[in-house]
């Protein structure tokens, strides 16, 4: 579903990604962990070209991400959830969710609203359709953001530290929605600090440090028997 070959990314003269190769299968849930500044968010943001790589190749759902038209087309199939939600504050929840399906997919307003209502039910926010984002709690906003991304019926979902900006008591409601999504067979790439989620929901765990994939494997294995020194060091600091 996602194919990354020899991906490099530099900001000015600082190299953030130093040659990443990664293949994500359909329906796979890949959890990316690593210290801050390791390049894990940049890697994720290269998967939909919010960050343009310095060199290398990214192919999503058979579309190579180069050129404006290709990138826009691929983005229709790639949902993204941000740390800071990035909901549109001047629109209601329902308008947030239906905007892209109507403007990009050319969907009829009624059809888009029907899908939006179903998605709001799925994330447990049916009663908030007419609310504005600033009226919602962080956890509710993030669930709306997930529904907004899902409304495009994407084939892949990218999560960039989706619970890092939340109060502790709201983390679970967001993780539950993500777990539900994984169980339904969504292909997902998740950058997170939630080790419990990584262990329980992830099919594969990726440890990234200093712009490289240091170690990967089934989460349980990596957590219990990390092979690399840097992985061990990281776990010793956080677990």
């Amino acid at each position: 579903m996602i194919d990354i070959k020899d991906l490099h990314k530099s900001f000015e003269d600082h190299e953030v990604l130093k040659g990443i190769d990664l293949h994500i299968n359909p329906q796979e849930v890949v959890v990316i962990i690593g210290p801050s500044g390791s390049g894990k968010s940049t890697l994720l943001r290269c998967m939909n070209m919010l960050e343009v790589p310095t060199s290398g190749e990214v192919v999503v759902d058979g579309i190579e991400l180069n050129g404006e038209a290709n990138i826009n087309k691929a983005r229709e199939e790639i949902g993204m959830v941000f740390q800071r939600f990035n909901l549109f504050p001047h629109m209601t929840v329902l308008q947030n969710i239906t905007l892209a399906p109507i403007k990009v997919r050319g969907m009829k307003k009624e059809d888009a609203e029907k899908i939006a209502q179903e998605l709001l039910a799925q994330v447990g926010l049916s009663d908030k359709a007419d609310a504005y984002p600033p009226q919602l709690s962080g956890g509710q906003q993030q669930r709306v953001a997930i529904a907004r991304a899902l409304a495009m019926q994407p084939k892949v979902m990218l999560f960039d530290e989706p619970t890092s900006a939340l109060d502790p008591e709201m983390v679970k409601e967001v993780l539950d929605v993500m777990k539900d999504l994984a169980n339904k067979g969504m292909t997902m790439a998740v950058v997170t600090h939630e080790m419990g989620f990584a262990r329980e929901v992830g099919d594969r765990l990726l440890f990234v440090d200093d712009g490289q994939i240091i170690e990967q494997g089934p989460p349980k294995e990596v957590f219990e028997n990390p092979r690399e020194e840097r992985t061990k060091l990281f776990f010793s600091k956080i677990l």
Binding site: N48, L50, N72, M80, R84, F88, A100, V104, R148
Partner: protein
Amino acid sequence: MSFNMDLVVQSFPLLILGAGITIQITAISVFLGLIIGMFVGIARISHIKPLSILAAIYTDFLRGTPLLVQIFLIYFALPIILDQRVDPFLAAITACGINSGAYIAEIFRAGIQAIDSGQMEAGRSLGMTWTQTMRYIIIPQAFKNIIPPLGNEFIALLKDSSLVSVIGFEELTRRGQLIIARTYGSLEIWLSVALIYLVMTLAISRLVAYMEKRLKTK
């Protein structure tokens, strides 16, 4: 010193007519300026280099030269190029419109740049183009932010529109001059003129404050 109250009362209807024309040029100019300013402001931050350079030249030139000289350029210099007389009303709104367009462009640019970059990223990540994201997400939010500076621009232009009196266009200031030429009542007429400007600018600033409050509570 003698103050002729009768002169004030007699001249008042004529001055009010002039004030009406002042409001008219200001409103048309701000409307023109708003359209110019929106496009120039967006062009200024566009990634298409020639477009942003052109926009920078436009704003630099119009903000870096006096409005009075711009009025002269359009009313006296342009006819030489066109080999045709320019209508004073047209000259007045063109000069004021393109001038305020430069200031409004800067207001728009600042208003757009004040929007969190996550908004553009969210729009783009949903598959929307840059233009669609601008139109549906960024500009509507920027509009809210720029209402106060836009109100100030409206007030500034209302006052600056007195400059078009120099090309003989009969707005409030010119009316005042004409009445004084007839009656020699400098004190009475200039005080009246000033008072009418004051009432208009106060009314606009109240209106802007009201709009700002209404948009905030929404």
